[in-house]
């Protein structure tokens, strides 16, 4: 079962990973956009870490608090999408102190759908949505924590491979559609790093 202890440990790993990837994510975003994705993720995770000690046991309320901390830290697209995904999961698990790992696929899909609605974008557009979609599909039917972790990481990495040579269709990078072919979408790269950190597969 995933409870508050697992959540806190995940936050620690993720925050550390984002400090480590700060420059790399900024650079990936800077190649096609405004170069602030590392800033967004680092600031967001720092904000969440500050709240960690005060998080309630109710996993839903805890994730809502995380989402709010994230939105407070920046107005960037990615930050808002992340918070949107978190809130969708928060709503679903509200009232529970723990969730079964087997729920991962369903919750990833929930986040994906909320973020689609928020960003008014489609799947297949070479965005973070495609990463989440791949994770949701790869983890379907998985409940063993170890296998689940491997499947999630593989899903995220496969999505990057599949989309690398396609053109960007969303956000600032769309203007550079041709140039973007062959380059990873920064939001997909960030999601891969997030999944790896949460899965403990760095």
């Amino acid at each position: 079962m995933i409870g508050k202890a697992e959540l806190l440990a995940g936050i620690d790993r993720l925050a550390a990973a984002m400090e480590r990837d700060f420059e790399e994510l900024n650079q990936a975003d800077g190649a096609l956009g405004d170069g602030d994705l590392g800033v967004t993720m680092t600031r967001g995770m720092r904000a969440i870490k500050e709240k960690a000690a005060d998080l309630p046991d109710d996993l839903g309320m805890a994730l809502l608090a995380c989402a709010q901390a994230f939105t407070k830290s920046s107005g960037s697209s990615y930050g808002t999408l992340m918070a949107t995904g978190l809130m969708a999961i928060a709503k679903d698990v509200k009232g529970k102190d723990s969730v079964d790992p087997g729920e991962t696929s369903r919750l990833a899909a929930l986040a994906r759908d909320a973020m689609m609605a928020r960003g008014k974008a489609e799947l297949g557009g070479k965005t973070v949505l495609d990463s989440l979609d791949a994770v949701a599909k790869a983890t379907e039917g998985q409940s063993d924590p170890d296998r689940l972790a491997d499947a999630a990481v593989q899903g995220a990495e496969r999505a990057m491979d599949d989309f690398r040579d396609k053109p960007a269709t969303v956000g600032r990078a769309r203007i550079f559609a041709e140039k973007s072919k062959g380059m990873d979408d920064p939001g997909m790269l960030a999601m891969t790093r997030i999944v790896k950190a949460l899965a403990g597969r760095n």
Partner: protein, 333 residues
């Protein structure tokens, strides 16, 4: 970088500190990080709130239009960057007097996501929100894709007209309907002569030659419809009017307000030179001009250039446009 500033990362916070210091009778800072501006005077319970938000660097838009008969609160991002959803939620909370809040702002991806998110946040607190987006820039998408257009100076008409409706005690549904009608009846186009510098970037947003201009450019330097040699004022005005009137034809008997707006550096002298043509074109179309606005209403800091906005009026909108309003940058009545 020809700007007067200290540490670029303090540009917005120092601007806001000076704004409220100079005009304590109009503005007050709110929110955890002071990025919400609301009216200094309490508004009465039961009044519909109107909030806006967006990037800094467009004064008087957005913050400046907080005031009686106008906006209730504004969430303020960094220069040309969206405020956070949490800041927007704070603006909504401050504006709420129990009758719901209209979110009235320009159509930019980040702002839309964040305002939607802010709505989700305050929904937990039982604040009812509606949304009207300005998408008035005819240069930014064809009529078939109207809803993709950027929001520019038409915002000022929407703030004024919806603000008057809320001040008059109309309910959220009506204020929203009136704001939407205003947005539907606004068309804008801009032309830029020079770039501007985002403080934290430290260099001009785009490059343009000394003898060039760009027709249809957006207020952050988004691409326009052509870039070419600078043309005579009357030609520029004619083409801008052509593009507006093509998109929203006017006929005899129509009543319309028009804004001739400087993007910042262009002086009023040149706005008046342009206004001669604007007036003639509208009168040639048989329209009657109501309350023309010539000046700096929606800017991009020190960018040189102009925008024109038409706002077609019916009796309801005209009455609200002429109703009193008061903020540090604009007074009517």
């Amino acid at each position: 970088m020809k700007k007067i500033l200290n540490d670029p990362s303090n540009y917005v916070d120092e601007t806001l500190a000076g704004l409220v210091a100079a005009h304590p009778e109009y503005y007050r800072l709110h929110g955890e990080d002071g990025r919400v501006v609301a009216r200094a005077k309490e508004t009465r319970e039961g009044k519909v709130g109107i909030v806006t938000g967006g990037g800094s660097g467009h004064l008087p838009v957005f913050t400046g239009y907080v005031g009686t008969g106008l906006l209730d609160a504004c969430a303020i991002g960094d220069v040309f960057a969206s405020p956070s959803a949490e800041q927007m939620a704070d603006a909504i909370r401050v504006a709420d007097r129990g009758a719901g809040v209209l979110r009235l702002y320009g159509n930019y991806g980040g702002d839309v996501m964040n305002f939607d998110m802010a709505g989700d946040l305050v929904e937990f607190e039982d604040i009812k929100c509606t949304t009207v987006l300005l998408a008035d820039d005819v240069a930014s998408a064809k009529p078939e894709e109207k809803e993709k257009r950027r929001g520019v100076a038409g915002m000022v008409y929407a703030f004024k007209i919806a603000g008057a409706a809320a001040e008059a005690g109309q309910d959220l549904e009506n204020v929203t309907r009136i704001a939407q009608k205003t947005a539907d009846n606004c068309r804008s186009i801009g032309a830029a002569l020079s770039s501007c510098t985002v403080p934290q970037a430290g260099k001009a947003t785009f490059h343009i030659e000394e003898d060039e201009m760009e027709m249809g450019m957006g207020i952050h330097g988004e691409p326009g419809v052509w870039r070419d040699k600078l043309r005579p004022a009357d030609d520029i005005a004619s083409e801008m009017m052509d593009r507006l009137l093509d998109d929203m034809p006017l006929s005899s008997g129509d009543r319309v307000s028009v804004m001739v707006n400087s993007l910042g550096a262009t002086p009023p002298e040149e706005l008046y030179i342009l206004y001669r043509v604007v007036k003639k074109r509208l009168e040639d179309a048989g329209a009657t001009i109501v309350m023309p606005l010539v000046g700096r209403y929606a800017t991009s800091m020190e960018m040189a250039g102009v925008s024109f906005t038409l706002c077609k009026l019916d009796g309801e909108l005209e009455g609200l446009l002429k109703a009193p309003c008061d903020c540090a940058f604009w007074r009517v009545g």
